[in-house]
């Protein structure tokens, strides 16, 4: 990259008709074939101007404006095809140089005290120097050892213990969990009653199934010995509900001994 500026062994910047082009021609003329290389070699018009001044001792005062302008315009024409932005920048630089040149040629106006010593080249020179300084800084920066390119950062595997960290809880967590259940239960109570009612209806079906094909069944036989209290109560409620809906009939023997349940045959 800095090959053009500081070549120890000159490398051709381009080959034109098989002939290596070792240096940018001093007369500023750059053969069209080399233009692409030329554009890649310089970062922009500032970079090119800096090169011409430093390498060929081009006097900023005596830049051959007519020639330079003509050639810059040739580049601009060629660049317009696919590098319009860069073309514009070269065009701007040409305009700047012409402006400086023209101001240098005009007799200096009677300057006010604050204008004293102002050189129309000063601003361009300031920019050129600032750019050159940053260009050098970039080169120095690139020489500093860089992670990944010049050294690698150490990173060793951390062996995780097999037992993962487990959550801890305390008594209050349990209490809070209960509170949450309580709060939700209140909200859901209506819903839950409905669920239970449906289960009564399920037992009603079950009782009816047991009565199917039988004349009557003893009340106690409707209750499984394994039944929970809840099941007993639900079964009882189911029987009452069936009686209320006149789907079965409950009767008791005169000696108050046996209770019978009989399906009411609606047929």
């Amino acid at each position: 990259m800095n090959g053009v500026l500081d070549t120890v062994e000159p490398q051709p910047i381009a080959k034109i008709c098989g002939e290596p082009l070792l240096e940018i021609p001093q007369d500023l003329y750059i053969p069209p074939d080399a233009l692409e290389v030329f554009l890649d070699t310089f970062q922009g018009p500032l970079d090119l101007l800096l090169y011409l001044i430093r390498k060929h001792n081009l006097n900023i005062l005596d830049i051959p404006m007519a020639e330079l302008t003509l050639q810059y315009m040739t580049y601009v024409e060629m660049m317009r095809v696919d590098q319009l932005e860069l073309a514009a920048e070269y065009l701007l630089m040409t305009a700047l140089l012409i402006e400086i040149k023209s101001r240098m040629l005009l007799p200096a106006p009677k300057a006010g005290p604050e204008d004293e010593g102002r050189d129309p080249r000063a601003e361009l020179v300031r920019r050129l120097l600032e750019y050159e300084q940053m260009k050098k800084a970039a080169e120095r920066l690139n020489e500093i050892p860089q992670a990944e390119r010049d050294f690698s950062v150490v990173q060793v595997w951390i062996e995780q213990k097999t037992d993962e960290r487990l959550p801890n809880i305390n008594k209050d967590d349990l209490l809070n969990a209960w509170s949450a259940i309580l709060a939700r239960a209140k909200v859901n109570r209506h819903h839950q009653i409905k669920r239970e009612t449906l289960s009564v209806r399920a037992y009603m079906s079950q009782v009816l199934r047991e009565l199917r094909g039988r004349k009557q069944i003893e009340f106690y036989d409707l209750f499984s010995p394994a039944a929970t209290v809840a099941e007993v109560v639900v079964t009882f409620l189911a029987i009452l509900e069936l009686a209320k809906e006149l789907l079965l009939e409950i009767s008791q023997s005169p000696d108050n001994a046996m209770i019978y349940v009989r399906a009411i045959d609606t047929v």
């Binding site: 060793v156 062996e159 409620l237």
Partner: protein, 210 residues
């Protein structure tokens, strides 16, 4: 424009003749220290353009392993090759650098645990009854594998559902001597009763009849 020359470009690689065993080990060590993934012997041979046999590399790796023995980091072989890793006793210290958020149990886990703790022994169906939603197997598995709940029997109803209760380990982990030390549920009596009542739909059954 060509890439700028960099310091590393100027190092001419030593020919193998000039690579001392010590330097060879340094290179192996540097490679293993900079890659988290295990490196196989055949990969490590690439460091030297395959000019050392696998046996030579393995022998050097064993030397390196011995040299690291007294360190907090060790060279180990795993399925895909060799790697450096920290020893287990470093873990408690290293964890302090990256304090992870303490893991937390989900509400489902905590509520299930609370129901089992306060209402034991209970079946899964009981828990679902109280929580109003089904209990996923993973919730019970979490609590079982933590050693906080266990099956203590089966309820004598169709399906013979398992009865769940908390363990002594649960009490230990919560620093309790007995279940009596759980926070009292005075203000929740109504809930427990109401949830019991919900087993028994005695509340205005008429409401539901059309």
């Amino acid at each position: 424009m060509s890439a700028p020359s960099t310091p590393s470009d100027h190092h001419s690689l030593n020919t193998l003749d000039s690579l001392s065993p010590e330097k060879t080990k340094q290179i192996l060590e540097a490679a293993l220290l900079t890659t988290q993934e295990p490196l196989s012997v055949s990969e490590l041979r690439k460091l030297f353009d395959n000019e050392f046999s696998a046996a030579v590399i393995t022998s050097l790796l064993q030397d390196i392993r011995d040299r690291w023995r007294d360190s907090g980091v060790e060279l180990v072989t795993v399925a895909s090759g060799w790697r450096f890793q920290t020893k287990a006793d470093m873990q408690p210290y290293l964890e302090r650098l990256t304090p992870q958020k303490a893991p937390r149990y989900s509400r489902a886990v905590l509520e299930t645990l609370a129901i089992i703790a306060y209402r034991q022994p209970v079946t899964r169906g009981d828990i679902e009854e109280i929580r109003g939603v089904s209990v996923s197997s993973s919730v019970l598995k979490t609590l079982t594998s933590r050693g906080w709940i266990e099956e203590v029997g089966h309820r004598n109803v169709p399906g013979k559902p398992a009865l769940l209760a908390t363990t002594a380990h649960f009490l230990d982990d919560l620093n309790l001597r007995s279940l009596d030390e759980l926070p009292p549920l005075e203000e929740m009596k109504s809930l427990i009763e109401s949830s019991e009542n919900q087993h028994l739909p005695l509340e205005q059954p008429e409401e539901s009849s059309h």
